[in-house]
């Protein structure tokens, strides 16, 4: 078994697998270590499949927009697999004036970064999607948003990277990183095995925190459950990605006809857990019914659609709601990509591409200085900055 390589990636989710793919494609010798038994079993396989820009923080928008313009349209061909990418727009729905004000504010801030997203009235929303209930008062509309199949996309990156010679190891639980001559160099597994590389990328979701703690780095993040349900196959109804100002549900109709809907019953951050993310997260009895009530409030005609499966997944919630994607100054050779806060799927391809660029010592396609690991200032200092 070969235990040395140019680049070592910890985590086989969409970010880690995509980074492995782009590195292998450029001829870099790369190894991926996955702690769980399954590739991409964390947030990458347990999300609503949104490939969206609208509703995002302006710090994330530049790279998400870059990925949607440059990578997603040709990704299926690139990976020789159907990612089910569908770019038919995103309706973010509102029922009250407060909702519409919130959506307008989001649209305005996204517009400043150059995103085409605008407010539409109830009538125009119903022209785009005739199944909306009378309760819908308006929406924001972003025509370049869409959705894809997160399960297939993540595994497609894995398969493509593997074809190009990237090595993947599962059940490889990382205990710590060790420095040699001041640089990140060794990765020690729980079973005592040691891997070595010139560059180490940590993209392991919430597990990243403990791993980088071993070299004195920390990110303020927490473990959060996201829950989703899926209906049996329905006749084709609509292609848009959906979200709401009330954040009571999100989702879309998939290529095979089933609907995938996510949502929250309000206790996502307080689900019992054992501090590892390898376990199967619970799907609670509160979420399914809550999501069903939300969905049928916007789409009454779906009340007879049958739910065939509910599931939950771990996501890594960041204190300020956006990820860390950054080299670590104090530990040369270490690159950190974590705390994607439950919306890291759509940005996976471009994040993987930029992690590969960082590992090769190149400039990234988009400036990421707003997402550094050392941005977390005390609140009194942040307030001063804002004023």
């Amino acid at each position: 078994m070969k235990t040395t390589s140019d680049v070592l990636i910890i985590g086989s989710g969409i970010n880690g697998s995509a980074a492995a793919y782009y590195l292998a494609k450029s001829g870099v010798d790369v190894t991926v270590l996955e702690g769980a038994s399954v590739i991409g079993g964390g947030g990458s396989s347990r999300n609503g499949g949104g490939v969206r820009q609208s509703g995002r923080d302006s710090r994330e928008l530049p790279y998400v927009m870059w990925g949607i313009e440059n990578l997603w349209p040709t990704l299926s061909e690139e990976l020789d697999a159907d990612t089910e990418y569908t770019q038919k727009g995103n309706l973010r729905l509102g029922k009250t004036q407060a909702h519409l004000d919130k959506l307008a504010q989001l649209a305005q801030s996204a517009g400043k970064v150059g995103l085409d997203v605008r407010m539409i009235d109830a009538m125009e929303a119903r022209e785009i999607n005739p199944y909306l209930s009378e309760e819908v008062a308006g929406a924001s509309w972003c025509p370049t948003d869409g959705h894809a199949n997160p399960l297939k996309t993540t595994l497609a990156f894995y398969r493509a990277a593997r074809r190009l010679g990237a090595r993947f190891y599962t059940n490889a639980i990382v205990e710590r990183i060790e420095k040699v001559h001041g640089r990140a160099r060794k990765v020690v597994l729980k079973n005592g095995m040691v891997f070595e590389a010139d560059c180490i990328i940590v993209a392991a979701g919430y597990a990243s925190r403990k791993i980088v703690n071993s070299v004195g780095i920390d990110v303020p993040m927490d473990l959060k459950v996201s829950e989703t349900l899926v209906t049996e196959t329905q006749p084709h109804m609509f292609d848009q990605m959906l979200g709401t100002a009330a954040a009571d549900f999100y989702g879309h109709q998939t290529k095979d006809g089933s609907f995938v809907f996510g949502g929250s019953a309000g206790y996502d951050q307080f689900v019992r857990h054992d501090e590892t993310t390898f376990s199967t997260p619970p799907a609670s009895s509160l979420h399914g019914p809550c999501i069903c009530r939300a969905v049928t409030g916007y789409f009454p005609s779906l009340e007879h659609a049958k739910i065939i499966r509910c599931w939950g997944g771990w996501t890594d919630l960041c204190a300020d709601g956006v990820p860390v994607i950054s080299p670590v100054d104090e530990v040369p050779g270490l690159i950190l990509a974590c705390a994607f806060t439950g919306h890291g799927f759509g940005s996976g391809p471009v994040v993987g591409l930029m992690l590969a660029q960082m590992a090769r010592g190149e400039e990234t396609v988009v400036d990421l200085s707003a997402l550094r690991y050392d941005r977390f200032a005390a609140k009194d200092k942040k307030n001063k900055k804002a004023a």
């Binding site: 297939k152 490889a172 729980k190 079973n191 069903c292 007879h304």
Partner: protein, 109 residues
């Protein structure tokens, strides 16, 4: 020392078999050959086969084909079917209408 799993251990060329056209997952119409090829392409876990091919993700949620899929994957990997981890079982056990699931008051829905 707990063994880690090398995902690159099977590099021999894929060999088609006579009964590769046999339907294994009837809900999603997935054949034996597609399952064998997925293993060859690196999908070593039942959960990955499911996510990659939609095996067992249809109406019956794998109640018909799970055992068959396990046997095919185990044979390809050269292990006992009992060594393979099953995909997570999730509710509801039978399909249930959204109006009914959202109704926690009880009674007829």
């Amino acid at each position: 020392m707990t063994q880690i799993t090398d995902r690159s251990m099977r590099t021999a060329a894929f060999k088609p078999e006579a009964d590769d056209d046999m339907l294994i997952c009837r809900c999603e119409e997935i054949t034996k050959g597609e399952i064998r090829r997925a293993v060859y392409e690196g999908m070593y876990e039942i959960t990955e086969i499911r996510r990659w091919l939609r095996v067992g993700m249809g109406l019956c949620q794998g109640q018909t084909c799970t055992k068959l899929v396990q046997r095919i994957v185990a044979k390809e990997l050269g292990v006992s079917p009992a060594q393979l981890e099953s995909a997570a079982a999730r509710g509801p056990v039978r399909p249930i209408e959204m109006a009914c699931m959202g109704n926690e008051k009880g009674g007829v829905c």
